[in-house]
Symmetry: C2
Subunit: 436 residues, 2 copies
């Protein structure tokens, strides 16, 4: 039975899908962090490329992918769609489980899908360097890869504790020519301030964001880049779902349920939004399941409100689900799911009942990830493992009810750089986190 | 321009190619370690499955791949063939560089190609467990994956120094349900002997082989499994070249040069031998380049002779290129290329002038690997990096001469579990090894 569904390179979609054309009400505008007044997009010009800012507020339904971006995408895209037939057999479920494998990218996750166009647009506008922050390292390695592809420099502020605990990610960033600085650092005024408060600070994503933004603001030909949350990031990620639609057709199936993990929301939106569009056209009702960790339950226990993107309250305020910008999640292994906020687009679709959020504990998540790895030969990233676990729970329900649901997993990345998390689980050392 | 060449799952070859049908003289028989007399295959029954022993001496040109093995292969095979167009542009070469990407396998290297049939044949014969040794960990993880796929146990003796230095590989083996024991250990008489001599022994592949063989001999329903060197292992690896032939046809090209790294010789033979067969039929003369490290120059500086496979002189003697069974190579990062001997089939074809061996220093090899990674977005394993470097040298020669050679690289695996080697190189801490 056929289980691998490849598209040819010439079948790569050449437009992204922009859900802002299909929201029942427009998104609420960002607010200025000082005045708390709606903020004109032009206020973002110091930080982001013109094209990304234009995409941030565009309501065009489709946006052309530039040919140089397609050229780079084609180095690994279209990514494969696979059917997890062995997992189905293991679970003795009548459900069919498919997964769209973004681990095939150069840095092993979906993050390159937006890193490449962000770097391209910046280069076209004469920018010589991008700065950013990274926690687990997936985003930092993706942006480093994208920048060197277009002959640009990349400076990554990596949360110091991750910098020390994840030497392999750090080396990958350097291999792709990225400059990597443990944060807090003495390279910025903000960093020096943090260090003055605590010379041994382990750092945080909030601190690293402050440093990356500051360095972009004070440096020549330098802008800042964000790897999730914003509308243009989610736009770029729709390449995942657009490919998956064609591949599900090849497989002769239509998904009843689409499952993805959510940190900032971009990989989930990437696979889900094109199917949401199809639902609007056909009247079909796909179930969209956004999976988050118990330890950082932004959608399941947070509330929708205007909130800052960073701890230091320097970013514009976005209307989104949030646990509060000062929320500090426990140190779970899914570093990409530890963010306090959520993409405004995903928040809106949860608010409107289109997306169903659910939260799981990491111990259950890793147990499922091990089963998946043994059945399918692919080790999921800890973030991705949340989606895998949720899909397996649905498939097990099907085994009880006899329903033959078709489940599609947004498989955001492999776990090759996160094996210490698996080691903790196998040692029985992984802690169960009570929800906060 | 098309750079990715996929075969559909139903185009997977269903037979391996056995080069023993096409050697001008039959291979020399193994000798008994005690008597030094030619050894009947039946003497191997205590160690290997009946089917593998039959394949070891078969002269049938093709051998059917069992359907259950094809079923497992199809989880990731056919692997992609890619054209390294960005690398060509970087080198400003008229050469065309293709690579056959075995990093797509569950454990990230070609090793699963033989682990799966070895586990399958053993299971059919009622074996419940396989034992083996592993150095860098690629083979141990592949056999663990294959064993759990067929419901068998797997015990891996991992050289203690690697066990301590490569925690991620260790965790991968455990994730795939393998039992992993640092060697030397107190689980075997041999291990206890080694420990009595040196309680802090870092171990060696020779010691680990002795332990794995002993455990197989003294345990019920247990056999031993070897990941390279032997004829049946090379046979299983020909799936690589057989796929690559069809994919090169899709690309509309015929390779002038085929390049692969050689440790025991199996991945190189896997890509090269089917093209050697085609040469015999067509009268064409492909250049076959076997690349090894300066630090372990088995083919370039060793001699052909009967020698033991292990340090302790317990294995049958094979007629092969060898640096001597007591050769201890310096601790280079390409752990898979540190073996003193070479597959008898590869040795024969070098002896007959069919294969051209060449040796490079690891410092030059890593410099090329970084260039490749930046151009193509794929980080080669340190072993694979040797093949990449050799191919780049040939492509640079073409830039000088204007020759438009078509080069095919056997890309044996990715380097996600070897990033510490890249870190050493980027830190400038990698040593240049004088050849011994």
């Amino acid at each position: 039975m056929k289980t691998l569904f490849h598209l040819d390179q010439n079948e790569l979609p050449n437009q992204w899908y922009n859900v802002q054309a299909d929201l029942d009400r427009p998104l609420d505008p960002p607010l200025h962090p000082g005045t708390r007044e709606p903020m004109p997009p032009s206020d973002l010009h110091a930080l982001f490329s013109e094209t990304c800012i234009a995409q941030e507020i565009s309501t065009d339904r489709t946006i052309d992918i530039p040919e140089p971006v397609l050229d780079v995408y084609r180095r690994w895209r279209p990514t494969p769609l696979q059917r997890a037939l062995n997992l189905e057999r293991l679970l003795e479920t009548p459900a069919k489980i498919f997964f769209k494998y973004e681990g095939a990218s150069p840095t092993g996750s979906h993050k390159t899908n937006t890193a490449v166009p962000q770097a391209y647009y910046s280069q076209v506008e004469g920018i010589k360097r991008l700065t950013t922050e990274t926690g687990a390292g997936q985003w930092g390695s993706a942006l480093a890869y994208a920048c060197q592809t277009f002959g640009m420099d990349c400076t990554v502020f990596m949360v110091r504790i991750s910098f020390e605990q994840k030497p392999y990610r750090k080396t990958m960033i350097r291999t792709f020519n990225g400059e990597i600085i443990p944060s807090p650092s003495d390279r910025t005024a903000a960093g020096r301030r943090f260090l003055a408060q605590d010379p041994n600070s382990p750092g945080s994503l909030g601190m690293a964001i402050s440093e990356a933004i500051e360095l972009a603001m004070v440096s020549e030909n330098t802008k800042y880049s964000l790897g999730s949350l914003l509308n243009h990031v989610l736009l770029h990620q729709t390449i995942i779902g657009l490919e998956a639609q064609r591949q599900m057709e090849l497989a002769g199936e239509t998904p009843d349920v689409i499952v993805g993990c959510v940190g900032g929301g971009s990989n989930f939106a990437g696979i889900a939004l094109p199917f949401y569009r199809a639902d609007r056209l056909s009247g079909r009702k796909t179930q969209f399941v956004a999976v988050e960790p118990h330890a950082c339950p932004t959608l399941t226990e947070g509330s929708i409100k205007y909130d800052f993107g960073d701890t230091a309250q320097t970013t514009p305020l976005l209307r989104m689900h949030s646990l509060g910008h000062d929320f500090v999640p426990p140190p779970i292994h899914a570093g990409g799911l530890r963010y306090h906020g959520m993409a405004p687009i995903v928040s809106r679709l949860v608010e409107d009942g289109i997306i169903d959020p659910i939260a799981y504990d990491q111990v259950d998540v890793f147990a499922s990830a091990i089963q998946f790895a043994r059945a399918q030969g692919i080790i999921p990233a800890p973030e991705t493992a949340h989606a895998v676990h949720a899909a397996m729970e649905i498939a097990k329900d099907c085994a009880q009810t006899g329903e033959a649901k078709t489940i599609l997993i947004g498989f955001s990345g492999h776990g090759h750089f996160d094996m210490s998390a698996y080691s903790s689980f196998l040692d029985g050392a992984l802690r169960r986190n009570a929800s906060p």
